[in-house]
């Protein structure tokens, strides 16, 4: 029989410090995360035979002269043949790596990310003395960047469904509440916020206010994926991969497709439907949800796009309290991208938090009897790449 069939499981996770880390480099965060996640799993670098370096990492040190992140890390880590994967967001990468493990192509895969230094938002703008030339259809030529791109989407959403900014702001309020329960979050120490606090924060791109936008932090993370059999021998409780999928749609902050609301042709829905189908669980089975909520509008729309609420009813779903700890779909119990951290590519943070919840390691924000969780990722334009990973424990 070609290719064996083996279940994959997450055996190790690690979060580096998050926030402003002026004394760190991207490389040192990445290396710390790799070592930390392996230690969490009770494994060593010699056990690793596959790497998943996340996109947008500044993998290459200026001293190396290397041009390929994969080859740089293969050389750096141990000079033995190693399988390399780089395939979208964290949930999608781990879904595909699970398939690679199932098929016997590798035994221990480490997904990792780290970013320090230049902010990704407007603070990080480099001053030029001549107009820079950039890819010709990029909206930055017109003063666009990530936040306005989502603001365009939010503006149309408010109009089409009759909501106001106050309705979107509820998502920020829930994220901050959860952050106050997470001592590792960047914003938790600042305390809870209200809808008025969100609406009184300064406008960045109408209708999105500062407190509706992701943080712009440094930080890193890593996740160790292996066979269920090996994970059962690891130090921590194994968290099994039940299913996962990824879908890609439209070009990177360049193409804008319509319509924006229908689940048909929506990559979020497509990847989620596939993941749920493979995992053989339903939406109602999800005890804890890690949502890639890079903006208030994204958080709200995600409930609709993944099928947890009807189209146009995301804000009502949140207002009813379902997404708070104690609700039927506790979402971003770490504080999410608005109040926990957003270091460049933060999609592994959703995986890390869901794993903590399923292990019962979430302390003051623990979801009781959490057995099945969903880690989600979207982005690279308005939901151009999306993936879902469904995890479970015995």
């Amino acid at each position: 029989m070609p290719f064996p069939q083996r279940q994959a499981a997450i055996a190790g996770i690690y979060l580096t410090p998050q926030g402003k880390l002026p004394d760190r480099t991207s490389f040192s965060l990445q290396l710390e995360a790799i070592k930390g996640a392996l230690a969490d799993a009770g494994l060593t670098i010699d056990d690793v035979d596959a790497l998943l370096p996340m996109s947008m990492s500044n993998h290459i040190g200026p001293q190396s002269g290397a041009t390929d992140a994969h080859q740089f890390w293969a050389e750096q880590l141990h000079r033995k043949p190693i399988m390399l994967m780089e395939i979208g967001g964290a949930a999608g990468q781990l879904a595909k790596a699970s398939a690679a493990i199932a098929a016997g192509m590798c035994e221990v895969a480490v997904l990792f990310y780290g970013k320090a230094g230049r902010p990704v938002g407007p603070r990080g703008t480099v001053t030029a003395d001549k107009a820079p030339r950039i890819p010709e259809w990029n909206s930055a030529i017109h003063g666009g960047y990530t936040i306005p791109y989502y603001a365009l989407w939010a503006q149309r959403y408010l109009k089409d469904f009759g909501y106001t900014s106050a309705d979107l702001a509820e998502h920020s309020v829930v994220d901050r509440y959860h952050a106050t329960l997470n001592p590792e979050s960047v914003m938790g120490v600042k305390g809870e916020i209200t809808v008025d606090d969100v609406l009184n924060s300064r406008m960045i791109a109408d209708p999105l206010h500062l407190l509706e936008c992701s943080l712009d932090t440094d930080g890193g993370y890593a996740v160790v994926l292996t066979t269920a059999e090996r994970a059962r021998d690891a130090k921590k409780k194994p968290v099994y991969v039940l299913g996962g999928a990824e879908a890609v749609y439209t070009d990177f902050y360049i193409t804008i497709d319509s319509d924006w609301w229908s689940p048909a042709r929506n990559p979020m829905r497509a990847a989620a439907d596939k993941a749920f189908s493979l995992a053989q669980v339903s939406r109602d089975d999800i005890d804890v949800f890690g949502s890639f909520d890079c903006f208030s509008i994204t958080g709200m729309r995600t409930f609709e796009e993944l099928g947890f609420s009807e189209v146009g009813e995301g804000p009502a779903f949140v207002k009813e309290g379902h997404t708070r700890l104690g609700g039927k779909l506790p979402t971003n119990t770490d504080g999410g991208l608005l109040s926990n951290s957003h270091p460049g590519d933060p999609s592994g943070l959703m995986v890390v938090e869901v794993v903590k919840q399923l292990r019962g390691e979430a302390e003051g924000r623990q979801v009781e009897n959490a057995r099945i969780g969903l880690a989600h990722q979207q982005g690279w334009s308005v939901h151009a790449i999306s993936s879902s990973l469904i995890l479970g424990v015995d």
Binding site: A128, I134, E136
Partner: protein, 140 residues
């Protein structure tokens, strides 16, 4: 409201899309139109999104459009921030089939008059000291 010198990003023009930028210099907005199925394709891609034909022709559009959505930006990157608040609009061109949703700035439309569904028209702005013309959206 262009300041001098112009330090905002400009397009790196490629061989494939040079006809578009040459068209802008003539104050014409050209969109690849499929010679086989008639679909307009924005942003330009090597083949028609509808029928995958490579037989596309750069075709001048009417310039008529309506605002699909917009945002007024109060925090911009670099030199754009000096011009804040400025508007970014997604306009749907009158041409069909296949929606052509084009992103750009406004000229001559007060920010407070922006609304979804408002008719606009493509206008042109020659960038001083650069061999580039950009499109903007002006009053219909």
């Amino acid at each position: 409201m262009t300041t001098t010198p112009y330090l905002k990003p400009l397009p790196a023009i490629s061989q494939e899309n040079e006809p578009f930028w040459e068209g802008l210099k003539r104050h014409e907005f050209l969109v690849p139109k499929c010679a086989d199925c008639g679909s307009w394709n924005w942003v330009p891609y090597p083949a028609c999104r509808n029928c995958l034909s490579e037989n596309q022709e750069w075709t001048k559009v009417s310039g008529d459009a309506t605002i699909y959505t917009y945002t007024i930006i109060t925090r911009g990157h670099g030199q754009f921030n000096d011009e804040a608040p400025y508007a970014l609009v997604v306009a749907q061109l009158a041409e069909s089939p296949l929606d052509c949703l084009v992103i750009g700035n406004t000229r001559g439309i007060p920010n407070e008059e922006l609304e979804i569904g408002k008719p606009v028209k493509i206008v042109f702005e020659d960038i001083p000291d650069e061999d580039v013309t950009l499109w903007r959206f002006g009053p219909a």
